[in-house]
């Protein structure tokens, strides 16, 4: 047994776009234990419901996280709509699904790029981000924003997508698919990439279940849990199967995310093919009264939203449980026994979104 050393990791670290601190307990080069310390970006936005009314709060909900901003807005709007018993137009449901799946594509491409950067493959990182810009261009054309759109509102969506633009999106995605195949091929079959990901950070199915892992983390360990199968928004009308891998290592998690990108392309195309005509929003009158709990499948896993209202303009309580929060225990489990050089790639492998976690 060697000497024990404690190495501080973060809050400012080249591999982390966001601050999280880990105390890594090392025995020679092996990590024995990792102790996280969070709180660097806690804002306390849940308490903001007391100062901003429930309509204004949509904007705050979208800023829980800038990467899955649309899905946070959608989850919050869905919760309020359920409390107020609002039935949104079918076209709005489809538009929400299209934007949500585009968000998933952009989030996964972002992650693929960052992970390529973490294992030192700079040109792959750049190429993935180049592809991601095409998705952002679609966002900019349809919503006006690149990362934060403010297009979801209580009672529907704020902007419509014209049939010509929908056709254009379909064409762009068809072209993108070819380029995506080229790039993802490197992630899945390049021997040096495989060397960095295969068999690294294995999380068994039982451990993933016990620790409550969600999203690609759970799916890569063989747990079939995808909340889109509940059929919220327009997912009930589209055909898809949750993606499962069984190895539970970093390679499996990469593979799940890559397959989800292609699945997102397929879902958007399906939605474009059958999107109905009609209005995009309904008028909202009165204030919410009651409580409700919604679950949404985000790129990183399931997010849960809880709202309690008592008939006034201001909500009593808003609570959000985000996927990274659920995945931190699983991360600490995978870090045990890995070598120090693998720590950055393992931290990235859960696709950490710290601003979600700390809110």
């Amino acid at each position: 047994m060697g000497n024990r050393t404690v190495i501080p990791f973060g809050p400012q670290h080249p591999v982390l776009p966001e601050p999280i601190h880990l105390d890594l307990m090392l025995e020679d080069e092996r990590v024995v234990e990792a102790i996280p310390r969070i709180g660097y970006i806690h804002r306390g936005l849940e308490k903001l419901v007391e100062k901003k009314d429930f309509q204004q709060y949509t904007y705050v909900a979208e800023r829980i996280c800038g990467i899955c901003s649309f899905m946070h807005g959608m989850g919050y709007c869905m919760t309020i709509e359920s409390i107020m018993d609002i039935k949104i137009p079918e076209r709005a449901e489809f538009l929400r699904t299209i934007w949500a799946e585009l968000s998933r594509m952009h989030s996964h491409l972002l992650w693929l790029g960052l992970s390529a950067d973490a294992f030192g493959f700079e040109s792959l990182h750049m190429h993935t981000w180049r592809l991601r810009e095409q998705v952002l261009d679609i966002f900019e054309e349809t919503t006006g924003g690149r990362v934060i759109f403010s297009v979801c509102e209580i009672g529907g969506v704020r902007k419509d997508i014209s049939p010509e633009t929908l056709d254009k999106i379909d064409r762009i995605l068809t072209d993108m698919e070819k380029e995506l195949k080229e790039i993802t091929h490197v992630f899945l079959s390049d021997s040096s990439v495989k060397y960095r990901t295969k068999g690294i950070g294995v999380l068994s199915k039982q451990a993933a279940f016990d620790l409550g892992a969600v999203g690609p983390m759970a799916k890569a360990s063989g747990i079939k849990r995808d909340l889109r199968t509940q059929g919220y928004a327009a997912y009930g009308k589209l055909k898809f199967e949750p993606i499962i891998e069984t190895d539970g290592d970093s390679y499996a998690r990469t593979s799940v995310r890559i397959k989800e990108v292609f699945q997102a392309v397929d879902l958007i195309k399906q939605a474009i093919a059958i999107i109905p005509e009609g209005g995009i929003n309904v008028k909202v009158t009165g204030n919410p009264n009651g409580e409700y709990f919604t679950r949404v499948e985000q790129p990183r896993g399931s997010a849960m939203y809880y709202v309690k209202a008592s008939g006034s303009k201001f909500l009593d309580r808003f609570r959000v449980r985000t996927p990274t929060f659920a995945n931190v225990p699983a991360l600490l489990e995978t870090l045990k026994g890995c070598s120090l050089a693998d720590v950055p790639i393992l931290i990235l492998t859960i696709d950490p979104c710290i601003s979600c976690t700390e809110r």
């Binding site: 809050p11 400012q12 670290h13 080249p14 591999v15 776009p17 966001e18 601050p19 709180g39 660097y40 970006i41 806690h42 804002r43 306390g44 936005l45 308490k47 903001l48 100062k51 901003k52 904007y59 705050v60 800023r63 829980i64 996280c65 800038g66 990467i67 901003s69 972002l110 790029g113 990182h125 750049m126 190429h127 981000w129 180049r130 810009e133 952002l136 924003g145 690149r146 990362v147 934060i148 979104c353 601003s355 700390e358």
Partner: protein, 146 residues
């Protein structure tokens, strides 16, 4: 400014931003905007950096981190506050754990507006900071030869 005399290296720190500005800072380094062709690199080492890019507001826990990063940087150095949160706290200004903009802790040279700040705006801010760096350097030289 028609050409840049210096390729500044950037140190990026996320105060308590929502990630929106962070990914836009990263986007300005990647192929579509590609400031790396001018030799502008995002470095992880504060001793190598010329410009400190901060996204998001400051809170009690990250004030020491921000100060420590700034103090480690070599002179001349500039601070760029990216996004409305770093400028004034933005939509989160009323939150209990938000002290306010970065200017509560450091003297900020350039404020970049936007929620989220667009990559064009971020690049503009960095170019402005470059001019400020040059002035600071001139002042340093004057002091040296006095």
């Amino acid at each position: 400014m028609n050409f840049i005399k210096k390729s500044p290296w950037i140190l990026h720190y996320d105060g308590s931003s929502c990630n929106g500005c962070d990914i836009e800072v990263l986007a300005s380094l990647t192929p579509l905007y590609d400031v790396e062709r001018f030799g502008i690199i995002n470095t992880g080492n504060p001793k190598h950096a010329d410009i400190l890019l901060i996204t998001g507001s400051v809170n009690e826990q990250n004030i020491p981190v921000v100060k420590q990063l700034y103090e480690q940087m070599a002179e001349p150095k500039a601070v760029v506050a990216v996004g409305i949160c770093a400028t004034s706290g933005g939509i989160f200004a009323e939150c209990y754990n938000v002290v306010g903009g970065v200017d509560k802790v450091l003297s900020v040279d350039v404020y970049v507006p936007g929620c989220a700040a667009r990559p064009e705006a971020v690049i503009d801010g960095v170019v402005k900071a470059l001019g400020i760096l040059e002035q600071k350097q001139k002042r340093m030289r004057k002091r040296k030869y006095r």
